[in-house]
Amino acid sequence: MINFSYTIWIPLLPFLMFLLLGLAGHKLKPKLSGLLGTGGLGLITILSYITAYRYFFTSEKVNGAYQKIIASNFTWLQFTDKLHIDMGVLLDPISVMMLVVITTVSFMVHIYSLGYMKGEKGFERFFAFLSLFSFSMLGLVLATNIFQMYIFWELVGVSSFLLIGFYYQKPSAVRASKKAFIVTRFADLGFLIGILILSFNTKTFDFITLTDPMGTAIAQGGGIAFLGLSVMTWSMIFVFMGGVGKSAMFPFHIWLPDAMEGPTPVSALIHAATMVVAGVYLVARMFPIYALSAPVALNVVAYVGAFSSLFAAVIACTQTDIKRVLAYSTMSQIGYMMLALGVSGYGGHEGLGYMASMFHLFTHAMFKALLFLGAGAIIHAVHSNYMTEMGGLRKYLPITHITFLIACLTIAGIPPLSGFFSKDEILAAAFHSNKILFAVEYAVAGLTAFYMFRLYFSVFWGKDTHYSHEPHEAPATMTIPLIILAVGSVVTGFIPFNKLVTSDGKIFESELELMIAIPSVLIGLLGIGIAYVMYRKESAIPDKLAATFKYSYKWAYNKFYMDELYLFITKKIIFRYIAEPVAWFDRHVVDATMNAIATVTQGVSYRIRGFQSGQLQKYAVVFITGAIMLSILFIYLWK
């Protein structure tokens, strides 16, 4: 058994960095603090690579399965003797894989930001927040129990809130951050309720106990039925609700596009590579329960994923803000991963989907980060987000151009780039379990290729726009990460995931299924072709199309009016018809009653003043009547 106890430093280091930069940041030189943050992250990147190596290649397996290793653990808060929140580090294939993903991308983004954020006000604040985010994200993936996960879940939420609202003087940014936080918070409510129900039935938070296929948690499965579904199913659906929120699945996706208000590196790190896949990771983490004890919930996962991917892809085809296009494509790719999990089974070749999903998560992190960073470089050069104001940039930004192209090809699933392999696995898994979903995903693959190359062509080719000032290639701090990530997205496809990350930790054989791979490549190429025709040069086709499908285009362009719907619910229903009435009720009914008591008392005291008339004889009357009344009362009425 190898000693992994040092892994506790992987999350801890960024936290210390956050404290340092947060408390003393404004005293340091911006550059220094930037370097500190980056250096710290570089360190843990190395650490996590070492960990990954030692875990996958040197730690021994028990009957051919990777073990779940509790590297370190201590009780943070004791609820009951059974229920307690622990803080610790759990190493298993997916967490180790996530370690690699997060640290790599985060490190790249740190380096990139050194250039991108140069001269920004609050440079050190930015890096402090980045460290906070890295801390929370790492804590999330390394969580040993569901409550620890929830804690860091909230923390990534808030750090994303802080980073989206980084330009806090910009109203749109403020609005976006607020929206992101509240929407995800609402989803997290579901997560929490899920945890509560789960813990009530299983009396434990611990992942290993929960997800043990032979364990009591899965075996008893909370047989009590409610609306025909087992308690376990309910709790899993609620837990998944949290995932939906974080991973911007339909219907909680609305925060993601607005989140693009944040600085581009942030979008690359949080809203493309790491945080948004937390939902996928959550489902993967609880996968045995989903697969063995709550299949209905698993179906929900599959359908939500499939629908979101299609939905997002359609919208992506119509957007003109490049970051928003990328945001929607992220959403659709995550939909892929969800679907893959949804269609997967547990163990052996059944678990193909699981593996595929993790695989795609990995590759997607690489190329989507690359895409965003590239977009960042473009924006940095052009000072605009809108592709309508771009074109012919290839001669100004050669490196960006090449890397961007690679990324586009990857996402379009062109062999031998990594995207091809992972997506192919997913399609295969879908094909084997559910033909309809397969068809959907197949179409989405085409759409993806189309909108990505629409973007690519209209930015780098297309009409030759005349820029007010000459766009120039980004500095090395920005281009180097691009290159590294580009390499990453080329080679990662060859990592044998089926030997490393599988549903039950055991190796299984999976070979390329040509009769799925070839058509998927073809449709990818088809998408690219259409995009080429429409956007390679300036042409009237897009506008014609838009004109012909006026209404559907309009709907897609306005993201199917989801934002308006939410606005209606929050502003009109909640605020106008609940909060304000409550406030009014409190003032004018509850409070008024209390005041009424006082007023009535005073009123009465005014009414009865007539007794004190100052007339001696009236007093005498009262006196005598009083005496007689009392006598009557106690002699006759109340003996």
């Binding site: 609820f79 009951t80 806090y168 509240i182 409510l189 509560l196 009530f200 409550v582 409190d586 209390m594």
Partner: protein, 501 residues
């Protein structure tokens, strides 16, 4: 002189010292010194307590001192603490300490102000240390009455109205309470020969159920008024809005906790059966105040009103948890009291400081303060995050303990209500973020605000004390929850022995 009585003696000495002073500048120094001493004492007490427990002392109450006072009625001056009261005492001393610094620049009648403030503190400390119902009640009323002068003289807005309303409603609560206490007293011994006010001795006997049915509601509501139980919470918004900074801090931070503490230590601990029987009524009321308070806060425009309503919601959570009557939930209730105490004190302190600069509390009239007064704004954000239950700050610990505990309740009804109550975390997030977004973020709307000064040193002391403790509890809750939890055991055992669920 035993250590506990010192907690009453030191403030009294401070008051006398202030009375003797002439120069007003010294007044605040003296009070700061006295309360600093108090804070130190609290630390010492915590240390002594923990070491005593560590030494294996398993008495229900420690440092018990008992002096016979009124022999014929068997009234004692009896003090003693368990983990819960120790925690509450440290909370109080923290908040009072911060409060002194927050009110460093009172203009008029400095002397009187600090005297009344410390008098209020005296009452609170006395309440928490006493284990004799009579002394408890005495200190309770002693704590309530200075509020009138504090709000009436140094307050703002419709201060006289609010002060009167607050005092009368709280006194109304204590009226119900008095009857309840007398009822407990006269049932405190099966054979009427040796009646007692001593909580520990009463807890050894079982009060007959009819009596419990009669006196539990009185006692609970009596304390509930102070704990802002719906519908008796309406003193809270007006009172807080009109009160000067330090007073709102103390009042929301500490005084409202008397309600929760008493409801748990007297009403439920002494009359568990009735509590179990009638809990459903109060559960409904409290969950109303949780949700209702939160929604009320969304629609407010005045910072203090927002905070007052959020206090209603949070204190409602305390009473809610207490009524769940199991180890975890009740522990959570205590933690929530402490966390909310610190949090809301922080909030009111900051609001006072901001108001002192912008001279308005209407959020609509402010904006973009983050750029102008970063320190205060950041602290405000932290307070906000704490109050919406962000992990790493105290609010989260408290709320989660309550929710998990409450959800362990064996009856379905309680679990469903719990889920409803849990949903308050979203509403809280909504109004907190709304305030933060309007008040601090965005462009600076009013050019008059461009050159506001940031926090002064005494304000920083006050704020940092509170933030420090909020974060301390949030990051390392285990010692607090264990300290409270161990003291909760005997209480829970008694409750469970009397109501087998």
């Amino acid at each position: 002189m035993d250590i506990l009585s010192l907690f009453v003696v030191i403030p009294v000495l401070t008051i006398t010292a202030i009375l003797l002073l002439k120069d007003t500048r010294q007044v605040r120094l003296v009070s700061a010194f006295g309360m600093g001493l108090q804070l130190l004492m609290a630390a010492v007490l915590v240390y002594l307590y923990l070491s005593a427990r560590h030494a294996g002392n398993i008495d229900e109450m420690l440092f018990v001192k008992d002096y016979l006072w009124f022999k014929s009625l068997n009234i004692h001056y009896a003090v003693g603490v368990d983990g819960i009261s120790v925690a509450m005492i440290s909370l109080t001393s923290l908040v009072v300490f911060a409060g002194i610094f927050a009110s460093w620049e009172v203009e008029i009648l400095k002397k009187e102000f600090f005297i009344s403030l410390i008098l209020l503190a005296t009452g609170v400390f006395g309440f928490f240390i006493s284990i004799d119902l009579f002394t408890m009640f005495l200190f309770y009323e002693l704590a309530v009455i200075p509020m009138y002068l504090l709000i009436g003289i140094w307050g703002s807005g419709p201060k006289e109205y609010s002060a009167m309303k607050l005092t009368l409603m709280l006194m109304g609560g204590s009226a119900l309470l008095l009857v309840g206490l007398l009822g407990i007293y006269f049932n405190s011994s099966p054979d009427k020969n040796q009646l007692t006010f001593n909580i520990l001795e009463i807890s050894k006997v079982v009060i007959p159920l009819p009596a419990q049915r009669m006196f539990f509601p009185l006692t609970f509501m009596g304390f509930g008024v102070l704990g802002a139980l719906f519908p008796f919470h309406t003193w809270s918004p007006d009172g807080h809005a009109s009160a000067p900074t330090a007073v709102s801090m103390l009042h929301a931070g500490v005084l409202m906790k008397l309600g929760g503490y008493g409801a748990f230590r007297v009403a439920i601990f002494l009359m568990p059966e009735a509590a179990h029987e009638l809990s459903w009524i109060f559960i409904i009321l409290t969950s109303i105040s949780v949700i209702y308070g939160a929604f009320g806060a969304i629609a407010q425009k005045d910072l203090k009103y927002i905070n007052a309503y959020s206090s209603v919601s949070h204190c409602g959570l305390v009473l809610f948890a207490v009524l769940m009557m199991n180890q975890t939930a009740m522990t959570g209730a205590i933690i929530q009291m402490i966390s909310h105490g610190l949090m809301t004190a922080l909030f009111f302190g900051l609001i006072g400081m901001i108001y002192g600069r912008t001279h308005t509390r209407m959020i609509s009239e402010m904006g973009g303060l983050m750029k102008v007064i970063p320190f205060l704004s950041v602290c405000y954000v932290i307070a906000g995050l704490a109050s919406l239950g962000l992990p790493g700050l105290s609010g989260f610990v408290a709320e989660m303990t309550i929710f998990v505990g409450a959800f362990q309740h064996p009856e379905l009804f309680y679990r469903i209500v719990t889920i409803i109550v849990v949903s308050s975390i979203v509403i809280t997030a909504v109004y907190i973020l709304r305030v933060i977004a309007i008040l601090l973020l965005g462009p600076t709307t009013n050019e008059h605000f461009e050159h506001l000064p940031d926090a002064k040193w005494f304000e920083k002391i006050s704020v940092i004390t509170l933030i420090g403790s909020v974060a301390a509890i949030g990051l390392a809750p285990f010692w607090l929850s264990t300290m409270i939890g161990t003291s909760m055991h005997p209480i829970i055992e008694r409750i469970l022995a009397l109501n087998p669920f």
